[in-house]
């Protein structure tokens, strides 16, 4: 219908050429203005959203000397709709006196929950058969290292750990 019109703008500074470039520029600008917040929004979790924090696990007295017990805490960074998944479990080994070891339940191999067997003093993983000694050291199976350990502190008779992220080989607890 407009065969006699130039669909491709000429190099001259005609109005058509200007409009074409303006149209292009406006859309690129729009794309960038949408793209930056979209990328920032999608990539935001990488910035850790508050990251790790100190978490109270409970009174030292609830972890008897020489025993290893499961403790559960609420993750420090949560949203209201997390439900039960806001919880994280960890294994607390009270070595002696003020000496503790707090292990992530996640196997160092691929993250499955390891279980503690007090009789043989071993942690066993149900997924691929990783086994750890009571001090968290790798005993057998595919894990490339021992269990992930939390930093801990005792403040006024309470056991605190520093945690808040899924432990993996790239970023232990």
């Amino acid at each position: 219908m407009c065969a006699d019109h130039d669909l491709v703008p000429s190099k001259s500074t005609s109005r058509r050429g200007f409009l074409f470039k303006l149209g292009l520029a406006l859309n690129v600008l729009g794309g960038v203005l949408v793209g930056i917040p979209v990328l920032g929004y999608i990539l935001a979790p990488i910035r850790r959203l508050g990251g790790q924090a100190w978490i109270k696990l409970g009174p030292v007295a609830s972890f008897p000397d020489g025993e290893t017990r499961l403790a559960v805490y609420q993750n420090p960074t949560t949203v209201d709709w997390d439900g039960a998944t806001a919880k994280t479990a960890c294994w607390v080994r009270h070595v002696k006196g003020e000496r503790f070891q707090v292990f992530a339940v996640n196997c160092a191999h691929l993250g499955c929950p390891v279980r503690w067997f007090a009789q043989s003093r071993l942690f066993m993983c149900p997924c691929h058969g990783g086994v750890y000694y009571e001090d968290g050291a790798r005993a057998s199976g595919p894990p490339p290292r021992g269990l992930f350990q939390y930093e801990y502190e005792i403040r006024q008779g309470q056991l605190w750990v520093r945690g808040g992220q899924l432990p993996t080989l790239a970023g232990p607890v």
Binding site: A84, T88, G111, R121, C125, A139, P142, L166, L169
Partner: protein
């Protein structure tokens, strides 16, 4: 009914669908290609449409929120009218889609359909296959039960092994530092918007390419594909000895599509929906997560790979496999099409199918996993306690109490991580048994710190009784020194 043609004409004048679709339906297909073997693709498409239909229905009820998703699945199973059936159809449909799509892929490969000029059809097909696996994985996560929670943990742990960016990839996938509410929202978005959008676009492209390049002819041994002559020859053949796609070829496609859907609906009605299994509560750790069947082979591979190869294979294996799949038509894009003259291709398919099914079979049995309840739940075989001394009986107790049976079976029951203990006395001497128990080796932890000397004595005394009556106990290979006699 005189108004029907009128409506038809009215629509045609405006939409022109008839004019647009007639050439599509009439396009000529090589006569022999109107075969049952060529119907896997349309069956996959039918299953995809079924997935869309049932998926939309499920989305009407499913709540993509970590605190409510599980309850909404139970509501679908037990309260929503036909909810159980639609969930079941979506589950069986997804299984069938992966399975039929795999058959389609194997068929087009063996029939040489990926060769010139259909390379791009193959490439798009591989992308469709990957998207479908993405749908399968994300769908499995949306079941938001224990398997989903820990399965995602496995996924994140694999992603974490990526060099340099591993630390960033994990929170990117999870939408936060842990698996929780924001994770489910991400997976939901991928499963419901992102991947289906890509899938629909790619299906369109795939079909367009099939129409544009024509359905692959029936390969004849000795009839080679040559870039110079192929297209002209195909055009000549298809016009000389072709049939219109509709209805000549479409008949079989339609039957196969209908059968695929009916089979899924049948499985849905008989077997019902799958899960959700345990509540996704991370503090409940008595769980043994397992993926759906299409990932069982990978799951098994993770247990069986030598640890030192693991990171390399986990991180670079899948991308390499994808690149190889995409490269197939560029590595062998011309020449012989018939599988009868492509022994490497046939052996390759057999090798891959055997590997995947063997691994998946092992993934069902999980012989590498300790049986967590074996020590407290399994009885000691009567034959092994009959007529034993108190010391030996004490050893039998220790075998149970120290969880030995989680990894070692007795009388065929127990773990299979380590060797069965029946007959162990014929293989190891007393000293060897003691050393093995105390120091461990290979895949066995050392029990030196966890057993008292008295316990070791009892344990080994019991193990020395574990041999058939007609077989002598193991003897040291070196005769004891004269003084010890």
């Amino acid at each position: 009914m005189a108004w029907l043609p009128f409506i038809g004409r009215w629509l045609e004048e405006r939409a022109g669908l008839n004019a647009a679709l007639t050439p599509v339906l009439d396009h000529p297909v090589p006569r022999r290609s109107a075969s049952w073997w060529y119907t896997f693709g349309s069956a996959t498409l039918a299953l995809f449409v079924l997935q869309i239909a049932t998926g939309i229905c499920l989305a009407l009820v499913y709540v993509p929120s970590a605190d409510k998703a599980y309850d909404s699945l139970l509501y679908l199973n037990y309260e929503a009218p036909f909810g159980w059936f639609l969930r079941a159809a979506h589950f069986w449909g997804s299984n069938a889609m992966v399975a039929v799509m795999t058959l389609h892929m194997i068929q087009v490969f063996l029939w040489g359909a990926h060769k010139y000029p259909r390379e791009m059809t193959w490439v798009v097909g591989v992308l469709l296959f990957l998207c479908t696996l993405g749908m399968a994985f994300s769908g499995q996560i949306m079941r938001w039960d224990q398997d989903a929670y820990w399965g995602l943990g496995i996924g994140a742990s694999i992603a974490a092994r990526t060099p340099f960016i591993g630390e960033s990839v994990v929170p990117f996938i999870l939408g936060g530092p842990i698996i929780a509410g924001r994770t489910l929202s991400r997976v939901f978005t991928a499963h419901v918007f992102l991947i289906p959008g890509i899938l629909i676009a790619l299906v369109g492209l795939h079909l367009w390419l099939v129409l544009r390049l024509g359905v692959n002819e029936w390969p004849m041994p000795g009839r080679l594909v040559d870039r110079e002559t192929y297209r002209q020859r195909y055009e000549d053949d298809v016009h000389k000895d072709g049939v219109p796609f509709f209805p000549d070829a479409a008949r079989k496609d339609m039957v196969s599509m209908g059968l695929a859907i009916l089979l899924v609906l049948f499985c849905a009605a008989i077997f019902g929906p799958f899960g959700p299994h345990g509540v996704p509560d991370p503090s409940i750790i008595d769980t043994a997560p397992k993926p759906d069947f299409y990932f069982l082979a990978l799951f098994a591979l993770f247990a069986l790979l030598p640890p030192w190869t693991e990171t390399v294979l986990l991180v670079f294996g899948p991308p390499l496999a994808i690149v190889l799949l995409l490269a197939v038509p560029f590595l062998a894009g011309t020449g012989e099409k018939s599988w009868k003259r492509r022994p490497v291709a046939v052996l390759g398919v057999i090798l891959i199918v055997l590997t995947v099914t063997t691994l998946a079979g092992l993934g069902v049995v999980v012989p590498w996993s300790p049986v967590m309840s074996a020590w407290s739940a399994l009885p000691t075989p009567v034959a092994y306690v009959k007529g034993r001394t108190p010391l030996e009986l004490q050893g039998a107790l220790i075998i149970q109490n120290k969880q030995c049976r989680n990894c070692h079976s007795l009388g065929g029951e127990g773990g299979r991580r380590g060797p069965a203990l029946d007959g162990v006395a014929t293989r190891q001497t007393r000293d060897q048994l003691i050393r093995q128990v105390l120091q461990g080796s290979g895949n066995m932890p050392a029990y030196g710190k966890n057993l008292t000397p008295a316990e070791v004595t009892a344990l080994v005394a019991f193990m020395q009784t574990l041999r058939p009556d007609n077989q002598p106990p193991a003897r040291p290979s070196v005769a004891p020194a004269a003084s010890a006699r």
